[in-house]
Subunit: 156 residues, 2 copies
DNA sequence: CTACAACCTCAACAATAGTTTAGGTCAACA
DNA sequence: TGTTGACCTAAACTATTGTTGAGGTTGTAG
């Protein structure tokens, strides 16, 4: 009945967090937290009543997940990266920093690709060169466009 | 039986194109061309034998679709953009240029966002500020993280 | 004329990233 | 004690972007 998404009133003293609390503080839906847990990106233990309990550290973990997603990294890869964190010690600032280094590289590449794309976009769409064989925009796909020798008429 | 994907031998004189020819020359699978047609991004007429026939112009159309996809634009939006092309006249270079102008803007924004993200990435993941309320990386989601007044202990 | 490659349709399946719903349990407040 | 809000699971559903398969037709080469 949608009540799941409204912030639960905080319990007496915040040693550990309920799923609703994590949702409220991380800005991520309860259903998404369940999902992340099924996918192995976060973990919880259970209360006597079988309710999820999270260490406060989960907030950073979720924050990092969301940030990584914004860079375009799929959850599966984020999971891999998170798996490199120390398992039985709370990750330190340096642990997190190391994590982000790899992503910075990926991000840089994506930015580069998009920048090239942008710089060629107008010119190449406007010119005649989208003919698959010659256009720098299209070239990556060119392998598939070959069809042996033979009179190849001027392309559209 | 996978034969669909091997380049068909070119028919005698290329006035119009079969789906296999378009696939070979555009580097896009036949199944994807069918799909684009179902989605209304391209159109064809039919031969006597009910086979698809495309105007040569479709090559540019498909090229543009693929390029736009690389910029991260979903097919639905590409469809909208293509719908702005003149319907009964073959689009001119200027038509295509206009089309790409809008996309250049979107691309620029995406590049900007990613660049900001990159610049903040290491610093923010490493520092304590991922606490959702103060981090520039997390702030966008902050709305959901509010939970009324009350003693808010130091976040993780 | 016979094969076989290329084509057709329709339906099911795939991966990603979740959300929604149904049916039930737990816990706190009055 | 009873009601309500938060929680539980499992399964089904959403959207996007196609691919795969089954079963049948067309068209071209020999």
């Amino acid at each position: 009945m949608e009540k799941d998404q409204t912030p639960p009133k905080p319990r007496p003293f915040p040693r550990d967090l309920s799923v609703g609390e994590v949702a409220a503080r991380s800005g991520v839906a309860v259903s998404a937290l369940h999902f992340y847990e099924r996918q192995g990106l976060i973990r919880s233990w259970r209360s006597q009543g079988n309710q999820r309990r999270y260490p406060r550290e989960v907030l950073r973990r979720v924050a990092v997940i969301k940030v990584a997603q914004r860079t375009g990294i799929p959850l599966a890869s984020i999971k891999q990266a998170l798996a490199a964190l120390p398992n039985e010690r709370t990750p330190t600032v340096d642990d997190w920093k190391r994590l982000s280094e790899g992503w910075r590289e990926e991000l840089n590449e994506r930015i580069l690709k998009l920048t090239q794309l942008r710089d060629r976009l107008t010119g190449c769409i406007g010119c005649g060169c989208l003919s698959v064989r010659e256009c720098p925009l299209r070239n990556p796909y060119d392998e598939l466009g070959r069809e042996g020798p033979g009179a190849r008429l001027l392309e559209d």
